[in-house]
Each structure stands twice: as structure tokens, then as C-alpha cells.
């Protein structure tokens, strides 16, 4: 049962991170938050018995996407007006 509540907490965390990512003015923080959302999602996938997807989400969703975003931010601006 504890797992059930832990999952609820994770989902709630995911949503909070997502809202933070959208609202924050600092793009870098927003990208990192998005990365965290992916990470939490991959944990959720584990609960949903989808190991393949969890690995993919972790590797690509959290790792690669965040990297690309950061490179892009280096090329443009960090703070949203």
C-alpha cells in the first residue's frame, strides 16, 4: 500500500516540477526541472511494469533532451524577459 501512496506523491511531484518548469523565468532551471519530470516519469514507468520504457525515458528523456536544451540555451539567452 505504501507503494500506492509513494506513487501518488511521485505524480504530485511530477506535476509540481512541471508547473515550476513552465512558470520560472530562468530557462536553465526550467530545463533542469523538465529533466526531473522525465526522471520521475521513468520511476513511474517502473511501477507500471515497463522497464524498457523506463530505461529509454531515463536515457533519452532525462539525459539527451536536457543536454540538447542546455546546449541550445548556451547559444541563446538564459533568462526569459
Amino acid at each position: 500500500m505504501i507503494l500506492e501512496y509513494f506513487m501518488l506523491f511521485l505524480l504530485f511531484l511530477m506535476l509540481a516540477l512541471a508547473i515550476f518548469a513552465v512558470e520560472t523565468k530562468d530557462l536553465l532551471a526550467s530545463v533542469v526541472a523538465a529533466g526531473f519530470v522525465s526522471l520521475v516519469a521513468s520511476i513511474v514507468y517502473l511501477y507500471l511494469q515497463a522497464p524498457d520504457v523506463a530505461m529509454t525515458e531515463a536515457a533519452i528523456g532525462a539525459g539527451l533532451t536536457t543536454l540538447i536544451f542546455i546546449i541550445a540555451i548556451r547559444k541563446t539567452e538564459r533568462y526569459e524577459k
Binding site: 504530485f12 512541471a18 513552465v22 511494469q49 515497463a50 520504457v53 525515458e57 524577459k81
Partner: protein, 116 residues
């Protein structure tokens, strides 16, 4: 049930960013969040309570696996969807970089020449 609600909310948050934010980078982030939300929704659709992952590496799973294993198809679809999501994001970011190199700003208002 909570997974559905959470994933739909995540999609809506992603869309919210696309609809409201004036910064094109934030829009791309919104799109990426939307993709994650969709993937969570698809996987939660394929989940069956009290079942294990569709990896048949133990002998007893060999016999009538359909009553012991989660639905594998959504997971296969999500695998493709994630990769496509990242591909689109990569191209989008390259476009954003190019736009920035031309106009030195990320604000949408600068990119409204083509209209009417």
C-alpha cells in the same frame, strides 16, 4: 485512475506553456513536457494491476503468460514515441538557435512578419 488524471494534467501544462508563453524556448520546453505527459498516459493505459513486466526470463512465466504479464504493445509504441519526441525537439531547438542567430531575441513578437 490517478495516473490518467496526472498524465492529462501534465499534457495540459505542456499545452499551457505553448499557448501562453511568449518565449519560443519555453514553447519548445512545453512541447517536450506534453510529449512526456502523453507517454505516461499511454503506459498507464497498458498497465494491468498485479501483473509483472513483459519479460519472460523465468520458467513459470512461460505457461499462459497472458494472465501474468502487462500489455506489452503500448510500451512498444511509447518506445517509438519517445524517440520521435526527442527528434522533434532536436529539430525545434536547431530552428530556435537559427532564429536567435538572425534576430537576437527569443520573443514571439519579433517573429510576426508573415501574417494576414
Amino acid at each position: 485512475m490517478a495516473f490518467f488524471v496526472a498524465s492529462i494534467l501534465l499534457i495540459l501544462i505542456g499545452l499551457y506553456a505553448v499557448l501562453v508563453k511568449r518565449n519560443i524556448m519555453k514553447i519548445v520546453i512545453g512541447l517536450s513536457l506534453m510529449d512526456t505527459g502523453v507517454n505516461v498516459l499511454i503506459i498507464s493505459l497498458g498497465f494491468i494491476r498485479g501483473r509483472t513486466a513483459p519479460i519472460v526470463n523465468v520458467k513459470d512465466l512461460l505457461v499462459n503468460t497472458s494472465s501474468k504479464v502487462v500489455d506489452p504493445l503500448p510500451q512498444a509504441l511509447v518506445l517509438t514515441a519517445i524517440v520521435i519526441g526527442v527528434a522533434v525537439t532536436a529539430v525545434a531547438l536547431s530552428i530556435v538557435m537559427l532564429m536567435y542567430s538572425k534576430k537576437n531575441t527569443l520573443e514571439i513578437d519579433e517573429y510576426k512578419e508573415l501574417k494576414w
